[in-house]
Symmetry: C2
Subunit: 363 residues, 2 copies
Amino acid sequence: MSNLRIPGPTPVPPEIQEAMATQMFNHRGPAFSKHIGEATEKLQDFFQTTNDLLLLTASGTGGLEASIVNFFSPGDHILAVSIGYFGDRIATIAEGYGANVQRLSFEWGSAADPKVIKEALANNPEIKGVLVTHNETSTGITNNLEAIAKEVTKANKLLVVDGVSSAGSIPLLTDDWGCDVVVSGSQKGWMIPPGLAMISVSEKAWEANKSASMPRFYFDLTQAKSYLERGQTPWTPAISIVVALNVALDMLMKEGREAVFERHHRIANRVRDGVEKLGLTLYADPNHRSDTVTAVSAPNGIELTEMLRILREEQDVILATGQGPLAGKIFRVGHLGWVPDQAINELLEKLEETLSTASITQQ
Amino acid sequence: MSNLRIPGPTPVPPEIQEAMATQMFNHRGPAFSKHIGEATEKLQDFFQTTNDLLLLTASGTGGLEASIVNFFSPGDHILAVSIGYFGDRIATIAEGYGANVQRLSFEWGSAADPKVIKEALANNPEIKGVLVTHNETSTGITNNLEAIAKEVTKANKLLVVDGVSSAGSIPLLTDDWGCDVVVSGSQKGWMIPPGLAMISVSEKAWEANKSASMPRFYFDLTQAKSYLERGQTPWTPAISIVVALNVALDMLMKEGREAVFERHHRIANRVRDGVEKLGLTLYADPNHRSDTVTAVSAPNGIELTEMLRILREEQDVILATGQGPLAGKIFRVGHLGWVPDQAINELLEKLEETLSTASITQQ
């Protein structure tokens, strides 16, 4: 088994592989109702919410699309707070559906400043909603969502949170912080394959939904809510992933929500310390480093592509490259979901070994 | 193992269950490139096309949405040929995205008349595209797609085909018949779990795409095509289902495409004969009965819901109810994908046994 250390898909434990191999059953029958009902309740616990929690058969990006098209109308003013690749993506989705998007971008590698968001909201009363990435997978930064949410709720705007690579791995207090819409994706901290997006929807968001006129069908959350009340999904769901989700959530609940979060923090510290001990430089602002993905600056004088190739082909350690403007400038280590300590130890050993390989030195 | 005989999800063979249990790997790495490259080529063989063939992480309905939003603009005139529930669904999707949809509905249980379609096209030159369901899952009817396609191509309109429950199970000659866009779903004849939609796109459809202005992001097929050229998908794909798809396609190709189609025809005949021998009445027009799903009229004097409950709870035979206006009026037997002869024999025996149960007779 490869040491797969990208920020999703993440490795799946043996119990999950067994669950994934489920025989098919009727998605309009009692067995599926039980599955989706249980998975929903457990997810609400991890999202720390009593809001509606809906499952979509799609990747996290599909969930992000759902988080826009269900709550806004073309022409609506939206503030898109971006600190990287995925912050830009959700802004692009909103623009594509005709929203009037004001991008508030912060330097990649840094976190969003709640005070600047507060000012932007004060200066632009026409803004209806705010899009925020909780954990920016492309830069390894976790925004101070609590502080941001405080400003957004104070201004009484709709708060849409991309929690794809945070929910289930680090604290995300949906209700306490006042997050109206929160999106996650199955292949992240949830330890299961890609194929499902999860999305929580507050009362305030449902209220916005009533007048939201962006077109939608597959991602129509009113349909998802209505079918969930009968223990179903409107369209045929990714059954094997739902079954796996239930098993994964049982494992996570057995460990305990707070213990899961603590484990992610401990493992992240181990990665950060280990990488720095190898003489490498962490890319992200030290005050906002993510507990689910660590971005490392490309070492001086090293051929990054060749380093990653050797790690992949000779060491069976799979790391992620940089995205967008960070391509070639950083590499990323995913440490969310199922991350045995031993896997991190091996990763660091093999990284050290590879760094000393003559062939990766730039000519 | 239940005798799951609904028109999708269909049972998965043991080889597929093993494939579904795959450990995760990098969707931006060489292993995934190989998987998607191979799956694409094999699917093209079953779709009998050299057109682009794209995979989406979604149910078949997501594929239907993609078949609309990528090729039309709000206000475009579309002829939606409907013979049932799914024909109505794709028309609704097109309307939702602002198309000017002219519905051409035929009586449920009958097929579409190519001559009527020809007339509609002649009388409405403003029509840009035609939506046709190849196999209507809700009524057990297979349209004469070849004859319909002849009229649509003669009129030089874009032909969008819902092949969700036909492709891979019955002949669908995408190129020979001139189908511009064809959609299928993984949980049908392909013997794998739900979670993937497949969609083929002709040159003519790509030409239409250039000026198509319906909003889209997750289902943007130009992104899917561009990433496929690098052996990737734009968003994280349902890896375990793609792996299963490759194994299933190998099994189907080993059997042989035409042999797969013949098997479906033989099994369908066995179901139809068996049901009629029990004194039941087939719902669909005898000239257009589907080889993938059989609709049976609710027997007179029988409590249909109770009959299906007994079959499910006591006999472990899972059949489908009627949809929309056919709820309570028919039941449906799915016989696409992995259908051992023995499963059909057992189904017929248990249906006979249940029909003789006193408790299902109406008071």
